[in-house]
Amino acid sequence: MAWRMKWFMRHPIQAKYLLLVLLAMLAPMVLMGFCFYTLVFDLMARQLVFPEAIFANLVPVIDRINNLLSLTLPVLALIILWCALVISHRFAGPIERLEKDLDQILSGDSRHRVHLRKNDDLSGVADRVNALARRLHN
């Protein structure tokens, strides 16, 4: 079983998947977060009406939440990036490995076989490629 150690590959397909996953995770989160953030504070301000009450009671709360967000958002961004990297690697890793092994077979090494991890999504394709390679070799 081949063990892929690098989390970020040179293959452009990982960058594509990484971008897709990041967009899929970040876009709804940012949109919902922004709507929730502005809507809640706007509704609260409209409830308070009187400007002194808004600036004395609500603005300090918003400042505290902003401070909290400034600390937690970078951590959250790192976690999301790590998740995106893992997910994109899981998509792109087997494709890169498959391409490398096929290149080696095509270069004349007819004994070479495609090696993917058991749980990789393309393991079924790898099994069939290996069966084809064996048949051609025999």
């Binding site: 009406v49 009187f50 400007p51 808004i54």
Partner: protein, 217 residues
């Protein structure tokens, strides 16, 4: 809608555009109350032909407001009558803007309402016991709130205690903010509060209305 003669220094006659007056016991229902600390006692009373809103605040802060929509123009005036019966006791009466003692017996709010409420600009017309007329300051809470003393003097009782005001919100806004308002007047509010000074304040309000100035030919 009625036509009334000029009631203050500006010339011309004034046509009532919208009245926020307290004409009967049902009038407070037109206003919404916001309670911040304790509840100022607001009730409609009558002296002769004058119906008015009486407010008594004891270590309390709650205000009444009404929504409206009025563009501030050179012809638009806010008119009202008020009477202060007692002022909150302050340690530093010489300070108009003082977060620790942000209490006034009587103040009228004109809120230039933005779609984002945090960007609304506010004029507060204040009756202060000792500060001179035209004294102004940013509120201790925000520079978007401007405090303006439009009446100075001691508390009064009876019919002689009433004072008439006629203000042009546009002129006051331009004077205090140094620019033209971007938003229309969206809320008119009033308050008597005494919570910061933990004292007492009492005032009366009557005949609050928007008026349009008509220059006589």
């Amino acid at each position: 809608m009625s036509v009334r003669p000029a009631s203050s220094s500006p010339g011309g006659t004034f046509q009532e555009l919208r009245s926020f007056s307290f004409v009967n016991k049902e009038s407070p229902k037109d206003w919404e109350q916001k309670i911040f600390k304790g509840s100022t006692d607001y009730q409609i009373l009558r002296e002769g032909s004058l119906h008015f809103l009486s407010s008594d605040s004891a270590d309390a802060a709650s205000g009444l407001y009404m929504k409206t929509r009025q563009d501030a123009t050179p012809e638009l005036f806010l008119s009202w009558k008020w009477r202060v019966r007692s002022f909150p006791k302050k340690q530093h009466p010489e300070m108009l803007s003082n977060r620790a003692e942000d209490d006034f017996a009587a103040r009228i709010y004109v809120i230039f309402l933005a779609s984002n409420l945090f960007r609304s600009d506010v004029l507060e017309y204040i009756w202060d016991e000792s500060l001179p007329v035209d004294a102004s300051s940013d509120s201790p809470y925000s520079e978007r709130i401007k405090l303006l003393v439009v009446r100075s003097g001691p508390a009064g009782q009876g019919i002689d205690g009433w004072r008439q005001e006629l203000r042009n919100p546009l002129a006051d806004y331009e004077k205090l903010f140094g620019k033209k308002p971007k938003h229309p007047i969206g809320i008119i509010a009033l308050m008597s509060d005494s919570d910061n000074t933990r004292s007492q304040a009492a005032a009366d309000f009557a005949e609050i209305s928007f008026k349009i100035q008509r220059n006589d030919p």
